[in-house]
Amino acid sequence: MTDRAAPVIGTRPVRHDGVDKVTGRASYGADLAMPDMLHGAVLRSPHAHARILSIDTRAAEAMPGVKAVITAADIPECFATVAMGELPMDMHDGSDNVIARTKVLYHGHVVAAVAATTVDAASEAARRIEVVYDKLKPVLGIDEAIAPDAPILHAGLTAGDWAGQAAGRPTNVASRMELKRGDLAQGFAAADTIVEHEFRTTMVHQGYIEPHACLARYGQDGRVSVWTSTQGPFLVRDQCAAILDIDAAKIKVTPSEIGGGFGGKIVVYLEPLAIALSRKANRPVKMVMSRDEVFRASGPTSGTVIRMKMGATRDGTLVAASASLWYEAGAYRGSPAGAGAMCCLASYKIPNFLIEAYDVVVNKPKVAAYRAPGSPMSTFATESLVDELARTLGMDPIELRLKNAVAEGDKAPYGPAYGPIGLQDVLRAAQRHPHWKAPLGKNQGRGVACGFWFNGGMGSSASVTLGADGSAAVVTGNPDIGGTRVAQAMMVAEELGIPVERVRASVADTDTAGYTDLTGGSRVCYATGMAVIRAARDVRDQLRGRAAKIWDVPIDAVGWDAGRAVPPNGRGDREALTVADLAAQLPKTGGPIVGHAALYAPAAGPGFAAHICDLEVDPETGGSRVVRYTAFQDVGRAVHAGYVEGQMQGGVAQGVGWALNEEYIYADDGVMQNAGFLDYRMPVASDLPMIETVMIEVANPLHPYGVRGVGEVPIVPPLAAVANAMRDATGVRFTELPLSPPRVLNGLEKSSA
């Protein structure tokens, strides 16, 4: 093997953690076990909205094998906030969501937890806990929540001074935000065509295949160890510290391999309970959610009601838009309505707009982040209306989008001007692609839609250790959900000029890794990647120092080229030294070399995508399926092309599921009717065609290689791409998701009546 590797970035090496994953050896959240371990189970509320009058745990405590029972009384009331990504999270709500104190706010809300010697004993004990409730009427949707006589979820939540709400009155509308530009009335007055609809989407779930799972040990020295499947081990630490009022320095969180997250494994659910149970029982406690619990009581994303209006002049120039976005937050405030507002017009230059976004509490699980949180729903509205405008004006829908598409220097709806972005390149690539002009079969239709996501930055750390054999090990604190370790190893290989197989990448616990924000926001390859590159360059500079020592020249005289320290000009008597050469001499030249970097990456490098979807509809049953799909995206710079394509394909599949069949179905009493994979219908292999990907690379100037986030953008366009294809196939504009067969047939019947 030569010590000099070819350029690594852009290639497709086998991931380093791959063999363990294809052979079943990789250890996920539920795969961990400890000697003397207990099993935890929780008692969940059978009501969607009720006051807790009393809890009697005596029967449960008396059962053989039961070692601890806890209720909210075992946990101090919490008034802290924790920085969750960019959003400070109110841990009073967070704590109450983990275990209800005075009121249950959704069916499945935790009321008590048990630790016992077996899973069955813990579950049986939980069933024997007696809770007396005062049942209240549940609020299950936006319309009910904002009705004048709506039951109120939180007595302390009072209305702000926005229109339609009497300030100071108890309300379910937690907040309102507004974005505006120009003069709306003037804008619409200038429009030749105006389209307007009300759009509705339902609550949907991330659908990660691995249920939440953790293992916690509260040591007699007060030190806490948590092993858990999470996107953010540091955030788990900080949330648990706040909820349990434990010094964060005493909590060590070790992330397991993670079986999917998509934003849903950031907030803690089980971890504080497992710690509290372990403290009480003085033994390690393992907790694993069932799939039913995951659906009922983790963090899906908002159902929405969106009223949007857009105007254009005859030549297709968008001149005005207004929108009012209503997002369900679930049981506690904090929906992604604001992000929905900022994203929905991000693709277009619109001189006049007004967007209002409302955050509404309802008796459903508290929403969590889900891949580009807030953007898919509001973009569904925008891209449906843009499609309508193209039809009304008789314009090609890509042409109309290109005419209005933002480019570098244009201002985003949330304020600042964009740097180099790829939306226009993406649209041109779509227009040129054979898919756009391919003939359609009977009952088939084609839809196109764009999508935007900010992409995150935030804090990251990395260290790179050089081995005496010239290999390298890189350590970060980001759980690897989709191939980030191999990407990090590639960056180190690229910087040091060694083969990627000679770099090991690992994810460390919170005591070992430098502070690193979550795996989310499409930030790992970008922000943590930047830290990895800097740490590798630190190693490289130290290696130059060692070469300088060997050659007895000043360090500045030592160059670096293609993985080798190069001697100063005119010193032909000295041979360039490879990484391996230098590594072999570490003990003689000053000892080990470790490179470090810690940084805060600004959020920038927004991602844009355009998707083309072909749908075939059975007009007699309303059934439909995607028959062809092509996703175009500005990916900045693809580090590992295979995993970038995979992000795009996965986002498309999730978005298609959201568009066609996924939905939370509630009965009037607030009980979810389809809390399982049988009736929560995520796409299966036979539902989808191959998903073609076209990567466009417009370098992000903030990253040394031009990387920009890629993971979230691809879930944004599919909702409208599918709905627009449905419109094309059937002639009917559907404004409510999902486009399940009954809804489609109903729409077809209505339109022909």
């Binding site: 934003g263 604001g338 900022m342 949330y414 926001g521 600004p602």
Partner: protein, 80 residues
């Protein structure tokens, strides 16, 4: 003088002023100057992320500003 842009949710506290110029060495001093001029912004403005010349930070009080800087206050967002 840095050019400062306030979103609608902040300009509600400034009597409708959306764009203004402020001389401040860093983001923190700029926030202080804004709060001094519009007392209702105190406690509100810190809840916003800040974009300086297109780069968005959730919290960057010591970020240095130049006379050319464009500063936007924007709502914070969470990624999945």
């Amino acid at each position: 003088m840095a050019k400062v842009y306030l979103p609608a949710d902040l300009s509600r506290h400034t009597g409708g002023v959306e764009i203004l110029e402020i001389d401040a060495p860093r983001v923190r001093e700029l926030q202080q100057a804004l709060a001094a001029r519009f007392p209702a912004l105190a406690g509100e403005i810190e809840r916003f992320a800040v974009a300086v010349d297109g780069e968005i930070y959730s919290d960057a009080p010591y970020h240095v500003l130049t006379s050319e800087s464009e500063v936007y206050f924007i709502p914070r967002i969470a990624g999945g």
